[in-house]
Structure formats: structure tokens, C-alpha cells
Symmetry: C2
Subunit: 423 residues, 2 copies
């Protein structure tokens, strides 16, 4: 098959060799300075100065490679190559508050590195490059916002929704877009076929297996639930312990059940309470109200549904035994998404051609790639080993591992543009 | 003894009969409209428009009774009678956010009612009336602020502390005080000897015993502790359940232990987590931080200390087993305060003279009365049966019960001014 021909060629060796771990490292450091906060973390919210500065920095790297850079209607950075292949490579530049320097940023740096390697090796058909706005859910409480906008799956209502900054999403994006000289640089959706994304794993599997990169098999499905527990607000001094309907104590019992039930399915599902508030929230008042988010994920949709049902039943039992009322609202549900089998095979072959037998992993995090997969594009993802967890300043990927990941993506981008039948 | 003489007299019958349940009810309704919020509750913060309007309303009731009304340096309302006895009767006009209409307000309304009854009965030596600013802890996170200021126990540092409203306590109080025509109407601390306060019970004891009023034996001691749990912030999707150091889950386990240990001492102590926050606080992030308040109360200081120690040991064990770090900070500690034995006897005799054999109760809530007791004044408190808990819109006291409570205070105020040796 074409792939073997490709990998046997000198050109493929050139492409792999032209990847520079040092350049990746320097660019991660440079991006990490944009929106950096005390303690080494970064805060680059969606449609903020910091996110826009990061886009300009990336555009500055792409322009010397012959790319025309602009932003689309959602303020996604789009890099148009002098001669375009049917491949898009992207990731995002926003971060969670006080997040790390690698989540998203490494994927964008790697995409630029892929172009560096392809250009240095004399490849003419080059991938489109995209840096998505607002992947982390900082706007409209919706993750993967920029790629959804680029793929045309945001509704008019979504565009008109208030961002909490006194403007609709449309107004806010327009305001940032108007500062760019080249406007509405949208991706030609009908001319591309493949989407590739490199991302840090954000989990411990590669580190535990002492492997530098993995091919993503699927992205987990997620249920987002909002729970409100209503008990009775009472005076903390005058209400005997046995006469309370403490909403917080009830919620604490529920939280331990979430942990217990999640642990029973450890390896196939996770369940997390990440946001939590009590009301009225005074030291001398027994809380009459507790409100929290529940995030349940699994690569297996059935497992996820079973776990959610189990948690719900447990909450009901706790609510009944404590004489509190529970409101349960399923706010969002995303099914698990398979990565394209053909693209996974190409990525696996590319990894093997540089001496790596890659693991296949499920992604516990959402990624813009899933929007592309759902939209019907042949989509593949590469994970790079990371340590220090994720969404925190300690997250880290070695530049050597990142270079191997970028090499896999570069080879795949080349292979997929050379021989489109393969996907 | 003088008491029997007093109670046998027609004058005492007159005083008791001149108490009007209807007037109490109307005035509670009128005060309840000041700072009322949706759902029937009131929000009258310390040094706000609502609290000041309430002061003006009370001054408007006292003036026709011959009282000169003004505010002191802390903006406490002080009502000076035409001819003063050595008795002060007071309570407070501020409320917790979305609190009830009776906590504090009933004590002030009852104090005015006492004056109504004494005046109507032709008594010449009348009590000073005080309505304390900021009893609930809304300013400087310190309860009983106004009475502490009136008694001269606030330090210069306290007065200079930032209130969170861009002003020091001194500046904020001065700004409100300057709107009153009569300034610096301070109580003559060296000319008074007794402090009396009526308050709703805010607990279930009187209701359970089907009794209208009680005499307060002592006010609980309180330990206020701030606890921070530090785990590790992680991605909620990529971090396996068994690889987490979830600060929130640890705090939830601690919360259930607070409840369990508190219940073991039900009747002699209470323990409450009323304020709770997680960080970073996003639906898709495993919390690396949880922060909460712990409020432990008992009428027995030894019991309180034992319970606090027990909770602390339990927290340490949980922290160790979950590999999280705990920061424990004892922020404030108030010993239990006994009410004056002589005054309790007078109040008990007064209650019996109108046919009530009063219970003696410990107060689980703090009250301005304890500042007076600590300052060495002969202090007594009367509780009125209340239902619907407290610090919430449902708190309620029947006007008939309130009238009985006011009658007890009126008779005691009369007795104490008639025969000062008794205290």
C-alpha cells in the first residue's frame, strides 16, 4: 500500500527528522507567557486579550511558512497554506483558569511544527491549520465552542446567547474579529476531508506504560447533571442536631456515594462533583440548600447511563432518608465518539515507521476532534504522554515526546494528502 | 420582699394589662416591610438603608412616649426616657440575608411595648431603650458588633478595619450617624445597672414543651474554625477514580463526621458547617481545594472543647487516609456566659405573677445580652416561643406569646427600678 511506499521513502525520514523538539519547547514557553499567572499557570479565557495574543503569536509563526492567517466569524485562527491538502490540523489556545501550558497549546504548536517539517522537506500540499477559540467551556458554559462554530453547528440562539460579559456570543466574537486585518478566514469545509489533532493525554495511562504517544480510539461520552438539594435553613446554634434537615450534610453523603459508585467502575467510568455551593452560606446558619454539578464519563455509553441511573437512585434514597428534596436536571449529554478507523490505522502505521508501537487509548476529556468526527470528517487524534495531571499549572509534556507525536501527525498529514483513498 | 408587694399591687396588674398583642403584631408587620425581600423574608444588613429606616421607625414609636432618640457613635439607636431608671432594654434591628421578621425585631418591638405599658400605667422612672446595630455578624464577620461598641470593648483596630464596603467601620458608622439630627446619643454606662432583652427562642424547646416564654439560664460558648482541605486539582475526565486526591470528597467525609460526632452529643452541643466553597470550582475539574467554616457550640465549655478536639482528630485521620493536607484555624472563641442569678429570679417571679411557670433554657444563639453580662451588668433574657426555625422567612412568634414575654420584661423593668437592691 501507499503508506509503505511513503514510509520507505527518504522524504518521510526527512519529515520526521525536521521536527524540532527544541523549537516545540521554545514555543510552548513563549505561549506559556501569554496569560501567565502567579505560580506558573496560565489563564487564557475564550475571547480575551490573552487568547487573542496567543492567536497573533501563532499567526506570526505561520506567516514565514507562507501561510495566510486570519480569524473566522467565531474568532478561530485559520491558517491557509499556499497550496492546500485536504487535511486540517488543529487544537485550541484557550485554557481553564489557572490551567497548564500544554492543554491545547501543545496541539497548536505541534500543528505549526508539522508545517515546519513538511515545508523543510519540500512538500507542496500543506494542511490547513486551525486554533480553536473557547474549547474549555469558559463561554456559554459550552466546551468545544470554536470548532462547533466553524463546523456550522451553532444555532442562531447560541450566537445570540448572553456570554455573561454584557454581550452576545456574536457581538463578542465580532468585536475581537474586527481587530484583525484579514477577516472571515473560514475553512473551506467542502474541500477538506481529514482532521488531525495532537493533545496531551491529561491522564496517567501513557506514563504508567512508559510510552511516549498513543492513538486515540474514542472520546468518552459525558452526562452533565445539575443537582439541587433543598432542606431547611436553620439557626446553627438553636437547632438540635437531630432536628435538622441540613442540605449540605445530605449533599456530602451524596458526594461520597458518587465517589463509591464511580470507584466500583474505575477504569471504565469516572464521576465528579466539581462545582459546589451552599445557601445561604453563613457560618452560623444550617444550609437549607446545596447545589452542585455532576460530571459522569465513560467510553461506553451504556456504562455511563447505568452509572448515572445508579447515582440518581442513591441520591433519591439519601434524600428520602434525610427528608430533603432533590432536583435533578440533565443539562447536557454527549455520546461517546469513535475516531475514524482508517485514520487510526494510518496514525498507527506512522508511529510504527518511527519505531513506536502505539497504545490505543480512550480519551476521558472532550476534544474539538469529536466535533469533526460527528460532522463526518475522517478524524484522528494523537496523545502525548503528560504528567502532573491536567487543568493545573503542573501539567507537563516532555518536548522529546511532543516531537515524536508531532512526527506521527506530520507523517500522517503527508500520507493522507498523498493518497486520499486510504482513509 | 418588695417583689411580692409589687406583684400584689394594682399597678402591676395595670402594667401587664397595658401590653397589647395587637400593637406588637402591627409593629412586627411594619418593621417586616423594611428590607423585605421576595418570599416574605427580610434583608436588613448592618449599616444599610434598611437598618437605618428600621431605626427611624422605632424612634417614631418612642418619641410620642416622651423619649429623645438619637444614635451613638456605632449607630446604635438610643432612646432616652424623660426620667431614667437604671434599666436598659434592648435588642437589634439588623437581620441575616433573607432572614425572618422576628429575630431581633421582636425584642425591639417588645422594648417599646414595655415603655407603652409603663407609661400607660403612670410609671415615672422608665428604662433606656437600645436597638443595636449589626448583631448578626454582617460587618467585619463579627456578631454583637453594636453592643460591643456601645460598651466600649471595640479596639481602635476594630474601628479602623475595612468593612468590605471600601470604608472602615468608623467611617461607615460616621456616615450613617451624620444623617441623624441628634448625634452621639450614648448610653450613660455608669448610671445603669440592669440589662434586659427579649428574643425569640429560635429553637424548638418551648414549642415542644407547649410553653410561651422561658428565662435564659446561659448563652452557649462558641468555637469558630476555618478549615481548608488541599488535595490535587485534576481533570475530571482523564483522572481515574482511584488516582484522585479530591479535596471535596475529603471534605464531604469530614462533614459527615461533624454530623455524626455532633449527634453523639445532641442536647448538649451542636456542630455546623455553614459556609462551603470548592476550588477551582468547574464542572470538569476535580476540586483541589475545599474551604469551610465549622461552628461548634455548647453551654458547657468543656463539652465544646472536647467536641472540637474530637472533630479535629477525625479530620486529621481522614486527611491522612486520603493524602490531602488540612489547615485548621481557630478564628474566634467565646466562652459560655451565665445570666445574672438575681435577675433570673426576678424574671421568674414576674412570669409566675402572670401565671406562667417559666422554663430555664440555654441559648444556642449569641445575643447582645452576653456583652452586657460580660461587662458586669446584671443581665437577664426572656425567650418567646418561636416556630419555623430561625434565620429564615418562616420564623414566627405568636403575638399572644410575645405579649406575655413583654409583660414579664415590663414587670421586671418596673421591679428592678423600684428596688435596686434586689439584683
Amino acid at each position: 500500500m501507499g503508506l509503505n511506499r511513503g514510509f520507505g521513502s527518504e522524504l518521510c525520514d526527512d519529515i520526521a527528522l525536521a521536527i524540532s523538539a527544541e523549537r516545540i519547547s521554545e514555543r510552548i514557553a513563549a505561549l506559556g507567557a501569554v496569560g501567565c499567572v502567579e505560580g506558573g499557570g496560565v489563564t487564557r479565557g475564550a475571547l480575551t486579550d490573552a487568547e487573542d495574543s496567543a492567536r497573533r503569536m501563532v499567526a506570526g509563526w505561520l506567516k514565514p511558512l507562507g501561510y495566510a492567517c486570519g480569524v473566522d466569524s467565531a474568532c478561530n485562527l485559520v491558517g491557509r497554506p499556499p497550496e492546500a491538502s485536504k487535511v486540517v490540523i488543529g487544537s485550541h489556545l484557550d485554557s481553564v483558569p489557572n490551567g497548564g501550558r500544554f492543554d491545547g497549546a501543545l496541539g497548536v504548536v505541534a500543528a505549526v511544527e508539522v508545517v515546519e517539517a513538511l515545508v523543510a522537506s519540500g512538500v507542496s500540499a500543506l494542511p490547513w491549520i486551525a486554533a480553536w477559540m473557547g474549547e474549555e467551556g469558559g463561554l456559554l458554559d459550552r466546551t468545544l465552542l470554536g470548532s462547533a462554530a466553524a463546523l456550522g453547528v451553532l444555532s442562531e440562539d447560541d450566537w445570540a446567547r448572553d456570554t455573561g460579559h454584557g454581550k452576545s456570543l456574536r457581538e463578542m466574537a465580532d468585536s475581537w474579529r474586527s481587530r484583525w486585518p484579514e477577516r472571515a478566514a473560514s475553512l473551506p469545509l467542502d474541500q477538506v476531508e481529514h482532521y488531525l489533532e495532537l493533545h496531551i493525554e491529561q491522564g496517567p495511562a501513557l506514563d504508567a506504560a512508559a510510552q511516549p504517544v498513543a492513538v486515540v480510539r474514542q472520546i468518552v461520552g459525558i452526562s452533565h447533571i445539575n443537582v439541587t438539594v433543598i432542606g431547611r435553613t436553620d439557626h446553627a446554634g438553636t437547632t438540635p442536631m437531630n432536628d435538622r434537615r441540613d442540605a449540605f450534610a445530605a449533599a456530602a453523603e451524596m458526594a461520597l456515594d458518587v465517589e463509591r459508585l464511580g470507584r466500583q467502575r474505575s477504569g471504565t467510568a469516572v464521576a465528579t462533583i466539581g462545582k459546589f455551593a451552599v445557601g445561604p452560606g453563613a457560618a452560623n446558619v444550617v444550609p437549607g440548600r446545596a447545589q452542585f454539578t455532576l460530571d459522569v464519563r465513560s467510553p461506553l455509553d451504556d456504562t455511563r447511563h447505568e452509572l448515572v441511573d445508579q447515582i440518581r437512585r442513591s441520591f433519591s434514597a439519601i434524600a428520602e432518608s434525610r427528608d430533603v428534596v432533590i432536583e435533578w436536571s440533565l443539562d447536557a449529554e454527549t455520546p461517546a465518539v469513535e475516531m475514524d478507523a482508517g485514520t487510526r490505522r494510518v496514525l498507527g502505521d506512522c508511529a510504527r515507521s518511527i519505531g513506536i508501537e502505539p497504545m490505543e487509548l480512550a480519551s476521558g476529556a472532550v476534544h474539538d476532534a469529536q466535533n469533526w468526527a460527528v460532522a463526518g470528517y475522517a478524524t484522528g487524534m494523537v496523545f502525548v504522554r503528560s504528567t502532573g495531571g491536567s487543568h493545573n499549572p503542573a501539567e507537563h509534556a516532555e518536548s522529546g515526546d511532543s516531537a515524536l507525536g508531532a512526527a506521527v501527525v506530520a507523517l500522517a498529514a503527508y500520507e493522507l494528502s498523498e493518497d486520499p483513498q486510504q482513509q
